[in-house]
Every structure is written in C-alpha cells, then in structure tokens.
C-alpha cells in the first residue's frame, strides 16, 4: 500500500507511456491538468454526481430504515429483498439498467407513459444521464438502510414516550430525537458515500461510455482513459494523486465540520 502510493507520486512527476523508463518532467503534468478542459469537466461531473447521490441515497435509506423499524412480523422478508440488490454485481445491474432505461422498449418509460407523463431519454440526454446513474446507485441503499436500522434500534424508547407526553407530534419527534441521535450513523454514510461517489466509474463505462456529450465522463473514467487508453501513465498518476488529496481533504473536512452537527451523547 505504501510503496504504490509513493511510486504513483513519482510517476506523477514523469512522462511515461508504460514502456521504457519514466522521464522526470517536474510539475508539467500538474500544470497541464490545470489547463485541461476535460479534466475540469470530469471533476465537475463527479462533484455534481456526489452532491446529488449522497443526500438522495441517505434519504432513501432513512425512509427504508424507519419503515423497517415498525413492529412487523414479516420484516425479515423486506430486509432481505431490500438488501439483496446491494450485493449484486454493479456491472450486471448496469447492463440491466441500460435495458430498463431504453427510451422505447424500457420499463421506466412504459411506466411514465402509463402515468400520463412524458417519456425520458434517460441515458441519451445530458440533462438526465447523471440522474439516471444516481437512480442506479440506489440499488445499494438497502445496505445503508440496515446500518441506519441498527442506529434507530439503539435509540431508547423512553425518549419517544417522554416526548409524546409533552405533546410532540411525529414530525417533531423525528427532527428532535431521531435525527440528532442518528447523526453519527449519518456521518458514516456521508463519508462512505463520498468515498464511493468519487470513484464512480463502472456505471458510465458500461452504460454511456462517458457520454452523451461527456456528461457522464467521471473523474476515474478520465483517469482510466489517460492511463490505459492514451498511455499517459504519468498524467494519469497526477490525476490519481489529486484524487487522493481530494478524498483526504473532503474526509477530514467533513469530520471537522461534523463536530458541529454530530451528537455523541448516547453512543
């Protein structure tokens, strides 16, 4: 783990096609990246995706967890069904979603048309393509929901009883008790979501090949192209190091920021 990360740093200061030996070029790769429109585009796409996918995923998982927290006899069935898609291979789900989202023969548009809504060119329209990939990412929401469920079960029932006696309604109870006490688990989901969001690749590689109009050309996809399609391994390594630093800064930043909103009293 340590050697590759420093080797990657060394490569990022070199020009290297994968053959022969790397030639030291100093900061050239980094200055070139700053002027590379596609680099900025891929960074923008990835941040856009993350900002959409992380809150959306947490909301979906929270709804699932709250529903599963009710005392239902057959809850283990729901738990299994909702968790299952998150262990399925992403490449297979991507292929399935191509067909689900097919503008003419897909199930999604069939549903929309039957509801009297206009059909959507899910993967072919730059406006919708990123959101389509966010939808696909929800297949993994069941795993987060189970972690949330464990968090919900750890909240003492007396808190709710006391609040109810004080006349707090369901919405008030959610925002004053559930949400604050769930913040440590939510922080975990945010960090995980961001780390995974920065790495989004397979979906666009299989479903859209970065298109349409580079709208799903994500950071790791462009890194992959540079390293393995264009044989610019030095350039790709510079991108890798920027990704590493961004991941680190974001994680540390969120941990710092979380001190102002995460409650640890009960956990």
């Amino acid at each position: 783990m340590v050697y590759p990360i420093f080797f990657s740093l060394y490569l990022s200061f070199s020009q290297y096609s994968g053959f022969g030996s790397p030639v030291w070029i100093g900061l050239d790769n980094y200055t070139q990246l700053l002027g590379d429109d596609v680099f900025w585009k891929s960074l923008y796409n990835t941040v856009y995706y993350m900002v959409l996918a992380v809150p959306f995923g947490i909301m979906v998982s929270m709804i699932m967890a709250i529903a599963m927290n009710q005392k239902l006899r057959e809850v283990f069935i729901y738990r299994a069904i909702l968790y299952l898609p998150s262990v399925l291979p992403l490449f297979a789900l991507s292929f399935i979603f191509i067909w689900l989202m097919n503008p003419r023969y897909g199930l999604f548009n069939l549903a929309l048309v039957n509801l009297g809504l206009p059909s959507i060119n899910w993967l072919g329209d730059p406006k919708w393509a990123k959101f389509s990939i966010v939808l696909l990412a929800q297949m993994g929401a069941g795993a987060t929901a189970l972690i949330f469920l464990a968090g919900l079960r750890a909240i003492p029932q007396d808190l709710y009883d006391a609040a109810r006696i004080d006349g707090a309604g369901a919405v008030r109870r959610f925002f004053s008790i559930t949400l604050p006490l769930m913040t440590p688990v939510i922080l975990y989901a945010v960090i995980l979501g961001i780390t995974l969001g920065l790495q989004v690749f397979i979906q666009s590689y299989i479903m859209t090949e970065g298109g349409p109009n580079q709208s799903t050309l994500f950071y790791v996809y462009y890194l992959y192209q540079n390293g393995f399609s264009y044989s610019q391994m030095g350039y790709a390594s510079a991108m890798a190091w920027i990704l590493f630093v961004v991941t680190l800064i974001l994680s540390i930043g969120i941990f710092r920021w979380s001190r102002s909103w995460v409650h640890y009293e009960l956990s």
Binding site: P4, I5, L72, I81, L187, Q199, I202, G227, F244
Partner: protein, 290 residues
C-alpha cells in the same frame, strides 16, 4: 381507582389503532420499495425469456408470451461462457483462500499479542481504507507489469493473501472479545503462540472468518475494474468482462445478455439467501466504525 383502569382501557384500543395505522403505512411503503428493488431482477429474467421478435414489440410486454428457454443455451455458446465461468471461479476460489488465511493471522497480531507500537500500526492499516483503488491502479499496474504478472490472475489473487483492512478490522474486533484468560491458560499448559492461534483462537473466530469468506467471494465475483485492467487476452477474461461481448458495434443482443446476466447473478443470490445472517453481521461491523 376503577375510573383509572377504565381510562387505561379506553386509551389502549386508541393507541393500538394508531399502531395499526402506522403498521399499514410502513407495510405499504416497504412493499412498494421491495417491488421497485426487485424490478431490475424481474426485467432481467423477463427479457432473458423473450424472443427477438417479442423484444422489438411496442409497447414492451410485461410477461413473455412464449418463453424462450433456449436463450440460456444460446447465451452460453454466443460467448465462451464456460471459459469465463472457469476464470471467475478460479479467481474467486483463491481470493477466498487468501482472505481466510491472511486476515485472521494479521488480526491475531493486532489483538492477541502485545508489541510496542501495535495500536499505532493498526490505525495506520485502518487509515489505508481511505486510499481508493483508482488512486493506486496506474502505479499497481506498472509494478505488476514489471514483474510480468499482467495478463495473469496473480494481480487479482496475490494481494488477497496480504489482508484487507476492512476484514482485518472485522476479525480483530471479534478476537478482542475473547477473554485473555483463555490464551493464558493454554500458554500455562505449554502451548506455543502458534498453537494458541491455531487450536484455541481460530476455532472461536469461525463466525467472523465465515463473514470474511463470504465477502471475499462476493468481492472477487463482482470485481470489474481489476480484471478490466489486468486481463488482456480474451481467454483470461472473467464473466464481468465477458458480458460485454453481447454488444457489437451497432447492436446489443439484449435477450442473450440478460440470460447470461441471470446466470452470473444467480450464484450471488444463492449465497445471499443461504448466508443472509452473515451479510447482516458483516454490515454491523461497518457501522461500528462510524
């Protein structure tokens, strides 16, 4: 006194009525969500069973009129499915083997033996979780290329024999819960460290090791980026990479692709249904981390 009991009786049905209403809402939400989450699998199977003619029917049919079971036979001959299946299985098998050998040994060193700086090193290992694979992939590729491992299964298998921070953490947490007296008693009886590990601790950690084995299997079977980078000749491809060959320049054989996808997904679903409890346990360790 009697009026109080009467009050309680009056409140109780009201309360349970609210509970029932809540349960109905929860049930409806969950059933709707389950339906949504099963839709991709449903569409996969339905598409796998359609004939080409039915596939191009508009609007699309929800249930195949004339299920084409022969699609499955055609799918496994359209691409060298058997070769890919074998490759995926070999990689998965050795990944499990590597994971169940390396992670318990490393976790043992981080939990049952005292040595200076142990916990600092452990936190360092845990910190490497935050290094995403894409950060390392170019450098790793080059390192493996230099030792001639590219286009072999070795870059996918050998690292599994060096442990994975998540799984080390998982087994370590489990080992920490075993009282120290157990090891001490064995040592007093003259067992050496290896015997304590192999005879005493390892059998007690079976549930945690099972979780790791299952996660390693799913991880290897589902891996896409690793095989994409390291495997170059078609005879070495795994199922993850091989599925792309249902796509030609202009056309995708969707019914065959979905038939093959069904076959690829089936072992994962089977493992999930059999070992569901282990999957849930593996997750709960993840939540401890937060």
């Amino acid at each position: 006194m009697s009026s109080q009991t009467a009050d309680a009786k009056a409140i109780r049905p009201q309360r349970s009525a609210r509970q029932i209403r809540k349960n109905i809402i929860a049930r409806l939400t969950l059933i709707l969500l389950c339906a949504l989450f099963l839709t991709p699998l449903y569409w996969m199977v339905v598409t796998a069973l359609k004939s080409d003619q039915e596939l191009s029917q508009f609007p699309p049919t929800l249930i195949p009129h004339d299920p084409q079971w022969s699609n499955f036979a055609e799918a496994v001959t359209f691409i060298p499915f058997g070769t890919y299946l074998w490759n995926s299985s070999v990689i998965t098998f050795f990944s499990i083997l590597g994971a169940v050998i390396s992670n318990p040994i490393i976790a043992y060193g981080f939990s049952r033996i005292q040595w200076p700086g142990r916990d600092k090193v452990f936190y360092f290992v845990i910190a490497t979780i935050f290094i995403p694979f894409p950060v390392l992939m170019v450098a790793l590729f080059d390192i493996f290329a230099r030792i001639g491992w590219v286009n072999t299964f070795l870059p996918l298998i050998v690292p599994m024999f060096f442990g994975n921070p998540f799984w080390i953490f998982l087994i370590r947490q489990f080992m920490m819960q075993i009282p120290n007296e157990i090891s001490d008693a064995a040592r007093v009886d003259g067992a050496n460290e290896l015997q304590v590990f192999y005879r005493i601790i390892l059998p007690l950690c079976k549930p945690a090791i099972a979780v790791v084995a299952i996660f390693a299997a799913v991880h290897a079977w589902n891996d896409f980026l690793g095989p994409l980078i390291y495997l170059q000749s078609e005879s070495k491809y795994t199922l993850a990479i091989g599925l792309q060959f249902f796509r030609s320049l202009h056309d995708v054989e969707f019914s065959l692709l979905m038939a093959a996808s069904t076959l690829v997904v089936l072992p994962i679903i089977a493992i999930f249904l059999v070992f569901q409890q282990f999957f849930v346990e593996g997750l709960s360790v993840g939540s401890v981390k937060g």
